[in-house]
């Protein structure tokens, strides 16, 4: 038997080389995560104080907190989720239960996927043009609308995916008992996909709580604690953006503290969403 030793050696070396490379690729990814999180924790924790939650954003050189930004973020995100989730769930239900393979459903699915990955700054521009310009001023409403437009496609996609996981036998059993289709969907399919649908809403919250670009020219920013949706409104990401790009050291510290808060919120939400999704898939 002729054994081509050179060929074997070459194949073994190539194999070893690429295995090394792929292990280092994984290490590369993990190192960045560690690098980012450690910077965030050290810088963020040193700036963390009770004042963050009790005082509004200060002018440069004075002490202050992030209260107005936190309030603004919570108000605008809540409105976006409360308005966007039902619309998204209904549209996702249409795609999974009624539209299915029709041409119309195909178009909606395609457009939804485009909206899902469309640059969020473009959404901001378009809400500026459609809402801020006619109103004549920046407002919390405009910010909420921009965030709602981001929430809807996320919820549509997850709702459709999760409804498709529900076994058809369940629907058929309910229909065979004489339940009308709308009743089957609401009482059986939605119930079976509950955890998955909530996952979609959570993912949407996670997505919008870090969104900066669509808020910059819709809600703008506000130095004061105000719950007036008709006026400009502060939000955590917008404050981080403004303060990080400023030349003041104490503003930088506040920006880091805000960054830590946002990341903690987003990562917690995504982990909870992941756990729920796993529950759904089982």
């Amino acid at each position: 038997m002729i054994v081509n030793k050179a060929l074997y050696a070459r194949r073994r070396i190539t194999n070893g080389l690429f295995i090394m490379l792929s292990i280092s690729a994984a290490a590369f990814g993990l190192i960045w995560l560690a690098f980012i999180l450690s910077a965030l924790l050290t810088e963020g924790f040193s700036a963390l104080s009770p004042a963050l939650f009790t005082q509004p954003t200060p002018p440069p050189g004075e002490a202050g907190g992030l209260l107005n930004a936190i309030i603004g973020s919570v108000i605008m995100s809540t409105i976006a989720v409360v308005v966007g989730t039902p619309i998204g769930v209904l549209a996702g239900t249409y795609l999974a239960e009624y539209g299915k393979h029709t041409r119309f459903a195909f178009v909606v699915r395609f457009v939804n996927d485009i909206l899902l990955s469309a640059p969020s700054i473009v959404i901001g521009l378009s809400v500026y043009q459609l809402v801020v310009v006619p109103m004549g001023h920046f407002s919390g409403w405009a910010g909420s609308i921009a965030l709602t437009i981001i929430v809807i496609p996320v919820v549509v996609r997850t709702t459709e995916n999760m409804l498709l996981l529900v076994p058809n036998g369940l629907r058929e059993a309910a229909s065979a008992l004489g339940a009308p289709m709308s009743f089957v969907i609401r009482a059986v399919t939605w119930k079976a996909a509950q955890a998955g649908i909530i996952t979609g809403a959570l993912l949407a919250v996670a997505r919008i709580s870090g969104e900066t670009a669509p808020l910059l020219f819709t809600a703008l920013n506000n130095q004061f604690i105000k719950a007036d949706m008709n006026g400009p409104m502060a939000s955590l990401p917008a404050v981080i953006f403004q303060y990080a790009l400023s030349p003041y050291e104490d503003w930088h510290a506040l920006a880091w503290a805000g960054a830590l808060l946002v990341t903690a919120a987003v990562l917690t939400l995504s982990i909870v969403a992941r756990l729920l999704e796993k529950k759904q898939r089982n």
Binding site: I19, L115, S126
Partner: protein, 338 residues
């Protein structure tokens, strides 16, 4: 629901009368249910239509907002290099250039690394570590882009300036091509830094899609290849990857779409300079960074309109890219029988 009188119904007139009213009641409830059914169908349909309307609204508003700039500059907007707010002259070329260069560079880094991570996670990683490492990589995707921005500006750019840029610039000053590509002053911020941060951001998308693709490869196929004596690398490169090629390409294009539209990470570290420089270390700008930095400062109508036109161009580019990605991923789904 069956509306016919049951065959074994009593024939007596009074009983028939009662039966009749019971039937009407039942027909009523059936009708009511079907009306409710129609209403629910309509509501879900309306929600789906709303998604289309939002899309139309986005396009309409961008086009409407761009009109003044389009009227003023025409196609010259796409090819002009000058960006001079004081003289009300605007050209999109530097921003388009910066967007494309940073995204392509980010892809060059992220695609091989992402595929490497996917190979590691599906074939090499010990089973116990598979989930935690997978989740950790996906956490990278969950971190909001503004965090990448602030981290890039305060932590990564200074580190990169001292430990990477300086040695490289010193090393390549006299080398012909590299000297041009990597020459200049070590600013820390610039197009290359932005591209690196973008690549970290899109890495999880590529590795997630590639891993999913690898998991759809039938075990039989892989085992057959191993049985023929293939090495792990040969199985992944010659069997698994070709099997899911359109999926991997689709995922990569999807990631490209993200990189093109990514705003905050680039805005912080790219330097916002409306110039086209040969050196990748020089500051530049991207479409989204220009809009984010300048929109609230835009004073003239033409300035605002030019920025909205940039947004329209960005939306157009990402639309094409995402449409390609959808198409490729759909063809994968179709083959997997989903």
């Amino acid at each position: 629901m069956n509306n016919k009188t049951p065959t074994n119904a009593p024939q007596m007139a009074d009983v028939a009368l009662i039966d009749e009213s019971a039937l009407t009641a039942r027909a009523d409830s059936t009708r009511r249910a079907s009306r409710g059914d129609d209403r629910f169908h309509f509501v879900t349909w309306a929600a789906a239509v709303l998604v289309l309307l939002i899309f139309a609204g986005v396009i309409f508003s961008l086009v409407e907002g761009s009109l003044p700039a389009i009227r003023q500059f025409g196609f010259g907007f796409l090819t002009s290099k000058s960006w001079n707010p004081a003289a009300d002259r605007f050209g999109a070329l530097p921003a388009i250039y910066g967007t494309l260069v940073t995204s392509v560079l980010a892809m060059i880094v992220a695609v091989p690394v992402g595929i490497g991570i996917a190979i590691f996670l599906t074939e090499l990683c010990p089973r116990v570590l598979r989930r935690p490492i997978g989740i950790a990589i996906e956490l990278l995707a969950g971190i909001p882009s503004i965090i990448y921005g602030i981290w890039g500006l305060f932590v990564f750019a200074p580190w990169f300036q001292d430990h990477v840029q300086l040695p490289i610039i010193e090393g390549v000053t006299d080398v012909p091509v590299l000297g041009t590509l990597f020459g200049g002053a070590p600013y820390g911020i610039g197009m290359f830094t932005a591209a690196l941060i973008l690549s970290i951001m899109i890495l999880p998308f590529i590795s997630a899609v590639t891993r999913d693709v690898f998991e759809t490869v039938p075990t039989m196929l892989k085992e057959a290849a191993y049985g023929l004596g293939c090495t792990t690398w040969e199985v992944m490169w010659r069997v698994a990857l070709p099997f899911g090629r359109s999926g991997v390409v689709g995922g990569a294009i999807l990631a490209l779409g993200r990189a093109l539209g990514e705003t905050m990470a680039a805005t912080f570290v790219i330097g916002n300079a409306h110039t086209i420089n040969a050196s990748l270390f020089d500051p530049g700008t991207t479409i989204s960074a220009t809009i984010a930095n300048e929109f609230t400062e835009a004073t003239s109508e033409l300035y605002t309109s030019s920025l909205i036109s940039l947004g329209l161009i960005l939306f157009f580019i990402t639309f094409i890219v995402l449409a390609c990605a959808q198409w490729m991923l759909r063809s994968l789904d179709a083959r997997a029988g989903k």
